[in-house]
């Protein structure tokens, strides 16, 4: 794997006439953890979704593990196979069991045998501490359990990079830590991660680079020590004081 896992250079995106991303420049080194924060509507989700082509950028360059993201379906497929994603709303497949949720990708997209896929799925369910739920439907699990299943589902594809879009925002407070614990574990094992979150305790613990976005721009970025202690811009200072109050 290249030194640079993800590189965004001058990325711009419009929704119709609405300029949602303005000249985004961001480099994520291999093994690095980047935490993106910022007010609602600032474009955090859109940045993350552009990295695996759930949204299309109109200007600039996105390179993932040495492959540039273009309209070529092969480039999109290549990049998606390197990049896993965890959504705010989990997006588990409700008609399949937990185990089937995990084995679907390996079997259908990777052509893995059923037995191997099952073994791998069980291994990752152990890792997120819910092997005993393998045969339940997602609807029978708590939110925290569902999100851990979603993380395990991503891991089954053996991604080089994991994207998280507010993974704990839809959870009841008492379930947040069980998901963050799993994420900290992944971080410690060296996974490259881009995490949109307002969990600043988590950010302080794992982030190598903090990114603050507002109105479609990256206003400020830097290592957490300086980012939290001495934010340079007013907007960032104001945002941090608001979310750190509680």
């Amino acid at each position: 794997m290249a030194q640079t896992a993800i590189e965004l250079v001058g990325v711009n995106k419009w929704f119709g006439t609405f300029h949602v991303l303005k000249d985004i420049n961001l480099t994520v080194g291999t093994g690095e953890k980047v935490v993106i924060c910022g007010p609602s509507g600032s474009g955090k989700s859109t940045v993350v979704r552009c990295i695996n082509r759930l949204e299309e950028h109109q200007k600039g360059q996105i390179v993932v593990d040495g492959t540039e993201l273009t309209n070529d379906p092969q480039s999109v497929a290549a990049i998606r196979s390197e990049v896993g994603m965890v959504f705010q709303q989990f997006n588990l497949f409700p008609h399949l069991t937990v185990l089937e949720n995990l084995t679907l990708g390996p079997i259908k997209a990777r052509g893995m045998s059923r037995t191997d896929a099952k073994a791998k799925a069980m291994q990752y369910l152990e890792r997120v501490h819910i092997p005993d739920q393998a045969n339940k439907r997602p609807g029978q699990l708590s939110g925290g359990q569902q999100q851990r299943v979603a993380i395990a589902r991503s891991l089954c594809m053996e991604p080089k990079v994991l994207l998280f879009d507010e993974p704990t925002s839809a959870l009841d407070p008492e379930m947040i830590s069980e998901v963050l614990d799993v994420m900290v574990g992944l971080a410690e094992e060296g996974m490259t991660m881009v995490v949109v979150t307002h969990e600043m305790g988590f950010a302080r613990k794992v982030a190598d680079n903090m990114v603050f976005m507002d109105a479609g721009e990256i206003v400020e970025q830097g290592p957490p020590e300086t980012f939290f202690a001495a934010p340079k811009s007013d907007r960032c200072r104001k945002f941090l004081s608001q979310i750190l109050q509680h």
């Binding site: 497929a77 409700p94 008609h95 997209a109």
Partner: protein, 253 residues
Amino acid sequence: MKKIFVFLIPVLLLAGCSSSSTWGWYVIDPRTENGWINVKFLLSGMGDTILISVIAAVISIVVGLVVALPALSERRWLRIVNRIYVEFVRAIPLLPMLFWVFYGLPIVFKSMGMNVPIDPFWGAVITLALSDSAFTAEIYRAGIQSIAKGQTEAAQTIGLNYLQTMRYVILPQAIRRILPPLANQFIYIVKMSAFASVIGMQELTRRANELVVTEYRPLEIYSLLVLEYLVLVLIISAGVRWLERKMGADERE
């Protein structure tokens, strides 16, 4: 002259009474030999009515899906292709479409150097399938669109391609929204299959028409015809309701 007229009127009236202005259930009374023959003759169209309807429904279910998929595309021109098909097909009344397929389509084939004769059976099947496919397509579209976008996105992030996403993620979830209205649509096909009688297909309606010509008992014969469709449709309705209950139960699970 006048006397003859006065005499003629009651005679004409009586003649009317004795043929069709009174009840004459004997024509379809299964207890009499002739009545039983007539009833069997009428019922013998049932097989073809069902066969035409089932084959047309199966074709419509496949064609409808193929027509629906472009409607869900990001590409505008694909959505337009879908719109044109649906609006166009939905706008054509069944009878003219039937005439066009039965009398016109073979000529189209011939002009392309192909000799494809279309018999009444396939003429009816093609027309019904074509006409119904526009409705089936709309049912698929609504069903698929009712599945949250996050499902497609999750499928994409684990590397599934378009067809795999449809096959393993979207359709299995959409099916419970699709199947009940699709089954309901089958009732439409069964009823519309009566039009096949005008191109000579020997189904329920045609049999009734033929018997009316020989027996001259339209009231009794068409009453039985109506009853035949009623029973057929009620059976299908019961099936649809059973399906709806089953799907609803699955959803709550």
